[in-house]
Amino acid sequence: MKQYTLDFEKPIRELELKINELEEFAKEGKIGLDGEIERLRQKAEKQKKEIYSKLNRWQHVQLARHPNRPYAQDYIDLIIEGFEELHGDRNFRDDRAIIAGLGRMKRVSTSSTVDEDSDDFRVAIIAQQKGRGTKDNLKRNFAMPHPEGYRKALRVMHLAEKFNLPIITLIDTPGAYPGLGAEERGQAAAIAENLFAMAQLSVPLVAVIIGEGGSGGALALGVADRVFMLEHSVYSVITPEGCASILYRDASFAETAAEAMKLTSTDLLGFKVIDQVIKEPVGGAHTGIEAVAKDIRILVSKAFTELQGIDCDARIQARVEKYAEMGRWIEN
């Protein structure tokens, strides 16, 4: 994968390149550079921590969209064993913006972080999938699903319900696709039906926002018993660009709109819209996907264990009550 560097990543990237260069030099044995290399390493680490400790909301958006950011399939490869992808909505076509499938996930006991090999979850996985590069992105439609994508998701949810499999969704989409075909085939109805169905599914549902959580297109996989968010992912009612072009009449106000909408994992945890933030390595998930995948697996596994301990009707009731609480208003 070609490395892509965001503007605010550049000072760190430059130091890293310099360290590499010096290491090459040292390898050739020309001069002893250990001290210098160590000094630069420390400097790079310090700078990295500093930059990542005070990211603004727009920088979070940039990280959430980072071309090197791990996508759904990358996590599935690390989290799910024996993954079998299932295709099609049985009606119109297979929407590649959404991956759906079945597999197994190792169970982690609630009290420890040690894997217990003896036991595992059979699970259903549904996710939006971004493409890597132009060709792949055309196939994936930039992770912007059509109605048939949501209907594929719904089909697999009902399959999961029938065979009593908990469902994990990985959310990463700029939003549902705003096109002619999508409207003709009922984008709105497809999203609405998913919200309605997820609210009453008899199996546990855990959603993880791994990149962009964009509007109704994200929410159509996002009604869940537990919602987790990767540290640098974002979740909002509309993209910052969309918000800017409507409210500020100018898409170039995206940065301002991102600030105004308060769309980071910290914001949403504060609003109690999500249940937990999954930390990313300093530098973002793309600098250490294994650790992030492991944390997702541990957290989701614990949530499933906990949720499976609750009676089905009580679980649905709790889901209903959770969403009933959402919102802020005053009453005089």
Binding site: A176, P178, L195
Partner: protein, 282 residues
């Protein structure tokens, strides 16, 4: 297809502004006829020449659909709050004050218990005059309370939608209203009580992608713009003009997303008949 669909390429907001009668007369944007404002209101905001349905205020829907003086309004004191400290060209807190004054409404929806041909119903009517009928926490909460009352009193629920979508000024809270109302509708559905969704011009965005499309019956007024993405956004995406009639009620009926299209003036008898079939007589 009626001529008013030619507007679909233009921005919605200015169109809607023209929709609100100003002064003594108004020009019908569909047929161009000059209509007298008072006469138009007497005709339930329907153009006498071409049948175009202008915006109808929420209060008028109560008169249109419910028996005379049969309704009680609920939760009128639930009002919006600026949780995010949101500011675009105006602070959200100021915008709330501005629209409250301008529209005389407390938010974009009014909810009543009333009687329709003597049948008790919960009726929630969205009003475009308050921030384009955008859905924020207040709309979500008030619909949820209507649902609770419907379950408690074992009555049907009718929602009249008229909305540009989610209220961006409330950020993620507005998105969550889609989940909140859809989830609450599950409780209504489990109680086997009818939910009739009436879609009017316009119903777009997250409103359509949640409760407006979840009716046991989805009924639209003629010519209503109904969709998820707005015409302007789609036009930008595909880089060409939209086909005539795209996203109209008639288009949605043809594509299978509506049960029927009913003229505003025929709505009450239609609802009365449908409800009498869906609910057993006591």
């Amino acid at each position: 297809m009626a001529a008013w669909f030619k507007r679909s390429g233009k921005p919605l907001k200015s169109e809607q502004r023209r929709d609100i009668p100003d002064g003594v007369w108004i020009k019908c944007k569909s047929c161009g006829d000059t209509l007298f404002k008072t006469e138009l209101m007497r005709q339930k905001q329907i153009c006498k020449s071409c049948g175009y349905h202008f915006l109808l205020p929420s209060e008028e829907y109560f008169k249109l659909l419910l028996d005379l003086d049969s309704w009680t309004e609920h939760d009128a004191k639930v009002t919006s709050v600026d949780t995010l400290g949101f500011k675009d060209t105006l602070k959200y807190s100021d915008r709330i004050v501005k629209y409250t004054k301008k529209s005389g409404l407390s938010d974009a929806i009014r909810c009543v218990s009333g009687r329709l041909d003597d049948k008790p119903v919960e009726l929630a009517v969205m009003d475009f005059a308050f921030m384009g009928g955008s859905v924020g926490s207040v709309v979500g909460e008030k619909i949820s309370r209507s649902i609770k009352r419907a379950i408690q009193n074992k009555t049907p629920l009718i929602i009249v939608s008229c909305s540009g979508g989610m209220r961006m000024q409330e950020g993620i809270f507005s998105l969550m209203q889609m989940a909140k109302v859809s989830t609450a509708l599950v409780t209504l559905s489990r109680a086997k009580l009818p939910f009739i969704s009436i879609l009017t011009n316009p119903t777009t965005g997250g409103t359509t992608a949640s409760f407006s499309m979840l009716g046991d019956l989805n009924i639209s007024e003629p010519g209503a713009l109904i969709g998820f993405a707005g015409p302007r956004v789609i036009k930008q995406t595909i880089g060409q003009d939209l086909p005539p009639g795209f996203q109209s009620a008639e288009f949605l009926l043809d594509h299978g997303f509506l049960d029927m299209i009913v003229k505003r003036t025929d709505m009450k008898p239609k609802l009365s008949n449908l409800l009498s079939i869906l609910t057993p007589r006591e």
